[in-house]
């Protein structure tokens, strides 16, 4: 059915009707409607540019700090201003740049690498982006009003509770929690993208390494951010309502925060670093002109790094007076993580050895990264040795170390990646000349800035000081660092100029300008909005090198989904392990809904910061309403036909539910993150138990046994009836379905009320003692989740009555049932802990 290509057509014009329809379907909206785009190429680009802007902002803050520290006793910045600036520098770099830039680039590139047309949940990406934008501007803006947080990016209480009135700390806690939620949303999207949206034939051992890294990193985000969110909740509850989680005079403990923060904070380092390794893993084979050596080693090492990174957090707490045994164990674990990291780097070196290396600007930055990161890794092993850390901890040695790791491990590969991938975004190339100038300025400037800091720290200069006295030997070293910082900044300016300078007159980049082997380089120059002309069958890790005529066949539309007959955006869903085609997924097109619901969600956090509870509640209602509209109008639509011919004689269903569908996976993954946050709160309960001889305290009545058990039983009944309703729907027994699910909803409300009655009836006062507070919090968490559960049950009732859910089309109730599996666990654990544990102890 394919017509031969018309070779006389002007560049970029559609060659036939099929192409015409595809173009129409995937066309990016113009004018003010441009901002309703949800396609990964647009959202990914906005995301990348926005996080780049936050990087520049935080970089300027760093320069201000370096000016203040250039001379001893300087008065360029006041102490208060300096403390705001260093807090913001760290927080913005970590939360508004390092994590988002990975998600941004991945949103931008992943579908291309997977030969997919889009990510499975484009509106979720857009929602995440707008949340990030709103939250980020809110947090950064606080600096202009002299109201910025000043507790350090680590926010240790009690300094951030009793000793910092004002809203700075609240802005940090609420603004960044908001962004963390957006980060988790993007992580869910990316995991599902890698697992379910690969091209047919791309079995799990053929995934480009970038995809593996996305899986590892997004998985880490999923388990690392929730403990921090749990910590944020505890800290904000103490600030806003005086619940004494960290107040030792009322049974709290400041170290609980440190544990929760660093359980997040250490994996965070690898969350930031591994994506850049992923870029290296894409760039190195291209310029070595050979497939990666040790693909399996790299994958295993990346997974190993991810796992190990969750067992190291205590090395940030070596000086808190922990027992020697604890120090020893975590010291060993911290050193061990160097091994998988080393394996990955040696795989790249081996690839370069095995190949015929072609020089290029991206490769220069890979070299800069190796030289810098290996140095930072070695000083990292040094601080992992607990005795040395007793001296180095909280000094400029650590400042030097962490910048070697983060700039070497993250920024340099990112710049290399920018030079490498720029043609895929703009169809133009960056200047090799400017790239070389930038390389030297950055490498030299960086080392002048940060190498002396190791020395400054060993001479005794602590971190986070707004000034230092003369006569300690710090003066020269600090002045050198400041000079270096400006050289470094000039290097970034060169890169920035290269990126933004007008390139209208330059020719388009050639197709696949680097002769790379991976699918993303199929992109035509100038770029087409459809992502890929037709979705190919993949048989190799480097298909552009190994599969003969692949590009030609794809361009001719000889593979899957070469057309958009219905004018709907479609992409393929395949199975997790061996990428067998399972579904023709219809993805939504442009809409403003994500922007609106992000604005409402932002309202909850921003109004909450100022304790304006009524607007916050109204905003929350607005957010729920818009999200419901979004789900109702765009999710799990009953299609006009059951199956569709996607090309090559393959018929695929358009609607599927259960574990092969993307929605089921998204719910499952989201709930893993949610459960992690809940477990972190339970960890808090048992942490108090370990530090107090008397916990639960004799003086507290506790929540009793009767009400918690009643609440638990009611909710578990509701759980059973929800599952029954799912079966009844599948059996198409309409009446029984409505009755069972409605009863389940009523039981849930009753159960939640009973659970709430437990601490209420025994008069637990959450401001009295950490015990009362943590019990209330566990109850509150569970009740809130029960309310969401009710909302979902009602949604399913409405869906069926409106004809959007049938016995065959049951994705809604299937995913709700999945939510309820997790809710039942939460209820059981809450009741077990608050009512059962006091009986044991």
């Amino acid at each position: 059915m394919n017509r031969p290509a018309d070779n006389d057509a002007p560049e970029g014009a559609p060659k036939n009707v099929q192409e015409q329809r595809l173009l129409e379907t995937w066309r990016t909206p113009r004018g003010w409607r441009y901002w309703s785009a949800v396609n990964n190429t647009e959202v990914g680009l906005w995301y990348t540019v926005t996080s780049g802007c936050f990087f520049l902002f935080a970089g300027v803050l760093a320069l201000l700090m370096r000016v203040q520290l250039a001379t001893p006793g300087a008065e360029f910045l006041s102490a208060d201003r300096y403390n705001q600036i260093f807090t913001m520098h760290g927080s913005v770099m970590m939360f508004l740049f390092a994590v988002p830039i990975f998600e941004a680039i991945s949103i931008l590139l992943l579908p291309q690498m997977m030969g997919a047309r889009d990510l499975p949940f484009p509106r979720l990406s857009a929602y995440g982006y707008y949340s990030f934008l709103i939250g980020g501007v809110f947090v950064c803006g606080s600096l202009l009003f002299d109201a910025a947080p000043k507790g350090g990016w680590f926010m240790y209480p009690p300094m951030t509770t009793d000793y910092q009135p004002g809203i700075g700390a609240d802005i940090w806690l609420l603004g960044l929690s908001f962004i963390e939620i957006a980060s988790i949303a993007a992580a869910v999207e990316l995991i599902v993208g890698v697992l379910k949206c690969r091209p047919p034939g791309m079995r799990i051992n053929l995934i480009p390494l970038y995809g593996w890294y996305i899986l590892v990193v997004a998985g880490m985000i999923l388990f690392a951010f929730p403990p921090l969110i749990a910590g944020d909740i505890l800290l904000e509850m103490e600030r806003a309502f005086d619940w004494p989680f960290f107040d030792p005079s009322r049974g709290g403990d400041p170290l609980l925060w440190q544990h929760l923060f660093w359980i997040f904070g250490h994996p965070e380092v690898y969350i930031v670093f591994l994506p850049s390794v992923a870029l290296m893993a894409m760039i190195v084979p291209t310029f070595a002109r050979t497939p990666i050596v040790g693909y399996g080693w790299v994958v295993l090492a990346a997974v190993g790094t991810g796992f190990l990174s969750f067992g190291l957090w205590v090395h940030h707490m070596f000086t808190t007076g922990l027992p020697a045994v604890t120090l020893g164990v975590f010291s060993a674990a911290s050193q061990a993580v160097a091994i998988p990291t080393g394996i990955q780097l040696f795989c790249f070196l081996a690839t370069l050895l095995a190949g015929r290396v072609v020089g290029s600007v991206p490769l220069l930055f890979i070299f800069a990264s190796l030289a810098t990161f290996v140095f930072g890794g070695l000083t990292g092993v040094m601080v992992a040795v607990a005795p040395f850390d007793l001296q180095a901890h909280d000094t400029y040695f650590v400042v030097g170390h962490l910048h070697y790791v983060l700039v070497g491990g993250t920024i340099f590969p990112l710049i290399g990646g920018t030079y490498y991938y720029y043609p895929l975004v703009t169809a133009k190339q960056l200047s090799a000349r400017l790239g070389k100038i930038a390389f030297w300025l950055l490498l030299v400037g960086f080392n002048i800035t940060f190498l002396p800091m190791h020395w400054t720290g060993l001479l005794g200069m602590p971190r986070r000081v707004y000034t230092y006295p003369a006569g300690m030997g710090f003066e020269t070293l600090n002045l050198i660092s400041t000079v270096g910082a400006f050289v470094l900044a000039s290097g970034f300016l060169v890169v920035l100029w290269d990126i933004v300078r007008p390139k209208g007159k330059e020719p388009y980049a050639p197709r696949n300008p680097w002769d790379a082997g991976t699918l993303e380089w199929l992109a035509e120059m100038p770029l087409k909005p459809w992502g890929i002309r037709s979705v190919p069958i993949i048989k190799s890790r480097d298909p552009l090198w190994d599969q003969k005529d692949l590009v030609h066949d794809i361009d001719e539309g000889r593979f899957y989904l070469p057309d958009a007959e219905e004018g709907l955006r479609e992409t393929l869903v395949t199975s997790v392990i061996d990428a067998r085609p399972e579904q023709c997924l219809r993805v939504p097109g442009p809409t403003f809904l994500p922007m609106i619901s992000a604005a409402f969600t932002g309202g909850v956090f921003i109004f909450g910061t100022y304790h304006w509870w009524t607007p916050a509640l109204l905003s929350g209602a607005g957010a729920v309403a818009t999200i419901l509209i979004w789900l109702w109008t765009g999710t799990a639509r009953v299609p006009e036909k059951e199956a569709k011919n996607v090309g090559l004689g393959l018929e695929l269903p358009i609607y599927i539910s259960g574990p092969s569908s993307v929605g089921w996976w998204a719910m499952f993954i989201t709930m893993l993150g949610d459960a992690t946050a809940f477990i972190s709160l339970v960890f808090g309960y048992f942490f108090y138990w370990t530090i107090h001889d008397d916990f639960p305290p004799e003086t507290s009545a506790g929540p009793g046994v009767v009400w918690p058990v009643v609440g638990g039983v009611l909710m578990l009944l509701a759980y059973g009836m929800t599952i029954a309703a799912w079966r009844l729907n599948r059996a198409d027994r309409s009446g029984a379905f409505y009755f069972t699910l409605a009863t389940a909803a009523l039981l849930t409300v009753g159960g939640a009320a009973a659970l709430f009655a437990a601490p209420w009836s025994t008069g637990l006062d959450p401001t009295r003692h950490s015990y009362d507070a943590i019990v209330w919090l566990l109850v509150g968490w569970t009740v809130l989740h029960a309310m969401v559960g009710v909302l979902m049950q009602l949604y399913c009732l409405a869906r069926r009555s409106a004809g959007h859910m049938t016995a065959r089309h049951d994705a809604d109730i299937t995913n709700v049932t999945l939510y309820w599996h997790f809710l039942a666990l939460t209820v059981a654990l809450t009741v077990g802990v608050i009512a059962g544990f006091p009986l044991l102890s």
Partner: protein
């Protein structure tokens, strides 16, 4: 000058009375230190971890030098390999031999080196974190935003309070029992040893073992708010007899001033309400919010190591403390007349 530095820094290592731990590695550590100090001309400083004057600091400095040299060699090898792979190699190596690099360089060598390092690190760890032996000097330290309360045992069996300067006998272990009055602080004397946090609601401890007489500087290592940078203290390590004399003297109440100007200053002190926050033992001033001033005149610095203890600096501190230490609790007494101020300074400087 370099030889002097070598001698000075090796002296304590070579001459120190031996304890039973790991003497087999001492000699090699000393050799490392010798090498290190000859290449290091910028190690000196009152706050330097690399000019050690205590057991812990010596061991850690030696560990640092050993690790730094090892790390330097590893870095050169790896980067050399990278440069070789990127630039020099004319022909591609075959895959199998390249893979050997992954197993050798990525797995075997790091595992061996890290195991050795771990053994060394863990070997010196217990001595650094254990409590001081029975009968050692205990000094209680309370971190307060942004100064230090030091509580010494007095020779007659009780205890008494000092502030912002700690003195220690040389060659003996001392245990610091650390607490915080408000937020988390970090107690750190780099020249003597590692640091330990001071955490509200907990008591932590740090044992140090000064080995050389001298004056050093301690600082707060954990960020504690506006004037974290201005929270330091002086450390004077002295021979045992001098220390005993000092302790006896500091345990005593303040001596009534004999000079008329200073006597007038003591009246200004009480009249202006200074005693509401500060204590001068033996007088009506018994405040406990701010630092004890009983022997203020004998201290090296004022405002927790912020300024040298001189009349001019003291005047600045009394009249505009926030300009020296932002957010300091002490109100500025810029309304005092010049005469009152001069008398007050004479009184305070006379409290030796």
């Amino acid at each position: 000058m370099i030889m002097h530095a070598v001698n000075q820094s090796l002296q304590p290592i070579l001459d120190r009375p031996r304890r039973a731990t790991f003497s087999w590695s001492r000699r090699s550590i000393a050799r490392w230190a010798l090498l290190a100090v000859t290449v290091c001309t910028g190690c000196q400083g009152p706050q330097s971890a690399l000019s050690p004057a205590g057991e812990g600091a010596e061991q850690i400095a030696a560990l640092f030098w050993a690790m730094a040299i090892g790390a330097g060699m590893i870095w050169l090898v790896v980067i050399g390999l990278a440069a070789y792979a990127l630039r020099i190699v004319p022909q591609p190596h075959d895959k199998r031999s390249s893979r050997r690099w992954v197993i050798g360089g990525g797995v075997i060598v790091p595992t061996l080196l890290l195991s050795i390092l771990l053994m060394f690190g863990l070997a010196i760890l217990p001595a650094l974190v254990r409590p001081a032996p029975e009968g050692s000097l205990h000094v209680e330290v309370v971190g307060v935003r942004w100064w230090w309360r030091f509580i010494y045992p007095s020779p007659d069996g009780g205890s008494f309070e000092l502030a912002n300067e700690v003195r220690l006998p040389v060659g003996e272990p001392v245990q610091f029992d650390l607490r915080s009055a408000d937020v988390i602080h970090g107690f750190w004397i780099p020249s003597l040893g590692g640091k330990v946090d001071m955490i509200p609601g907990r008591q932590t401890r740090l044992t140090l073992w000064p080995t050389a007489v001298g004056t050093y500087r301690g600082v707060c290592a954990e960020y504690c708010g506006a004037s974290h940078a201005k929270m330091a203290f002086d450390v004077v390590v002295m021979p045992r007899e001098e220390f005993d004399a000092w302790l006896r003297q500091q345990a005593q109440d303040a001596i009534d001033p004999s000079e008329p100007d200073a006597r007038r200053g003591s009246e200004v002190f009480l009249k202006s309400g200074c005693g509401g926050c500060h204590a001068v033992r033996g007088t009506a001033a018994d405040g406990s919010i701010g630092p004890d001033l009983t022997h203020f005149g004998s201290r090296h610095s004022l405002a927790a190591g912020s300024l040298e203890n001189s009349p001019d600096n003291l005047r600045r501190w009394i009249t505009e403390p926030q300009s020296i230490k932002p957010m300091a609790v002490m109100p500025g007494y810029h309304t005092l007349s010049d005469a009152d101020l001069a008398s007050l300074i004479a009184y305070l400087q006379g409290l030796e």
